[in-house]
Amino acid sequence: MKILVTVKRVPDPETTIRVKPDGSGIVTDNIKYVINPFDEIAIEEALRIKEKLGGSEVVLASIGTKVVSEQLRTGLAMGADRALLVLCEQALDSLAVSKILAKLVERESPQLVLMGKQAIDDDSNQAGQMLAALLDWPQATFASKVELAADQQSAQVIREVDGGLETVGFSLPGIITADLRLNEPRYASLPGIMKARKKEIREIPVAELNADTTPCLKVQKMDPPVKKTGGKKVETVQQLLDLLHTEAKVI
């Protein structure tokens, strides 16, 4: 089975993000970049499927400038077989990203596309669903468990939804987006890192794909959020409760 896993380069979640004074973007100096945490979970799931089934190939795909090869190299070190990097300088919205990914899916014909449920930079939570729509494929978002049928023609996915867990089934090919508890991603081993150096990262100029990359969603301006300032420290439990009762009047 061929599995395509999408990878986005995002600021480390521990980084404090600041808006530029002119509101045109975020301050990018000294930001450390990582693989989007949910994409790491998607890579791990693909590797586990490969290990279980045998005879499978895990292909990573990303969009951006050449620096993204850093994150792809990390994914290859985890155990993915090869990577595609669509070179693109311009800002993209989720729809444009999905259109580019759809072109890659046409080229690669994977049976399964695994993605993170959401990128932690723009927090859009759209690309998986949009790609599924463009391909007219089934989708299972927010996956916490993935089971492939023995004949590899269908999948059952447990999804984390409001108020419980939902199980859906679908015929492959399909798209699954990973939620937090799907698995715990492995660290790249030293031999894995050595091997990754020799694995292919194929660069594809975006123009070659003939995808319409005009964004529908445009960020006009960025503002910092209204700062909430800390209040008072209290000394005792009783004092806390008294204040909540008499001052804040919430208990």
């Binding site: 600021p11 979640p13 521990e14 993000i17 600041r18 975020i26 919205d93 959401q118 932690i120 930079d121 723009d122 927090d123 859009s124 759209q126 669903q129 949009m130 729509a133 494929w137 089934p138 989708q139 978002t141 927010f142 916490s144 984390e160 939804v161 409001d162 108020g163 419980g164 867990l165 939902e166 199980t167 859906v168 089934g169 679908f170 399909g174 937090l180 508890r181 529908c216 969603l217 445009k218 006009q220 301006k221 960025m222 503002d223 910092p224 959020p225 800390g230 209040g231 008072k232 420290k233 000394e235 439990v237 009783q238 806390l240 409760l241 204040l243 909540l244 804040a248 919430v250 208990i251």
Partner: protein, 322 residues
Amino acid sequence: MGNVLVFAEHQKGKFPKSTLIALQAGKEAASKLGGNCLAVVLGSGIDTLAQEVAGYGVTKVLVADDPGLANYLADTYTATLEQLIKANDVSLLLATSTAIGKDLLPRVAARLGVGMATDVVAINADGTFKRPMYAGNVIATVSLDGPVKVVSVRGTAFDAAQPGGQAQIEKVSVNLGAAAKKMQFVAFNETKSDRPNLTEARIVVSGGRGLKSGENFTTYLEPLVDALGAAMGASRAAVDAGFVPNDLQVGQTGKVVAPELYFAVGISGAIQHLAGMKDSKVIVAINKDSEAPIFSVADYGLVADLFKAVPELTEAVKKLKG
């Protein structure tokens, strides 16, 4: 501008508060941007629900009542909405960012060939929207090009619609066609709880890694939760550590809550957690580390060992409530 269409999600034969919030946001959008506010209900055997939503001040309710829509599935619901949007001069599709809203709306947007804004917190009169990015560290003003705009709204940013009026109900037939063949609903395993819904509760008590184990959530946190009649939440760290299920997660990648009173117990206050609760009206932090970032957003901070402070607080609350 054409009409606003609100997707009226229902669960177990009822409209959750999140749907009333979507209706309110839809009415606000129609009054600012023009057009009528319509609501759409999808499902099977949903006459009563259609009647109910018609009483919330919308202009018209579209009802697609079909056995093929009995359970939510992304493909059949998308096919239905796509048809209804085209037939009803819709230029804005809106739902709340619930699990279904998040799953469905991007698929509909891509089918229509348009973009989408997620987690909108403000609808501007010039047709732009405000939405958080980077775990709420950025509030972006965004525009959407294309014949239809698709937005999900954040449940904490709008009030619930109040009852009023009685709208016309229009039954529509849909052609599910090929859409109904690829995905199947298998099962729903409900998390049983007598506590209020996390996103709707007046008081939320959340625990973090400081609780140290799932058993301690039961032994220490739950009695406080129940004494307050609150909903229980958790930080991502506590979910990651396997203490509690993921549907309790409050934060950037979990649920966003804004109750009247929020307790953060043994939670350090990572950016990703603050993104999910910092709009709460009153925030209380209990943590033994006086330097924990959670204190920078807390209205009331108690530097204490939670294993002593929480049982003491539970008893004091019980006494106060008599």
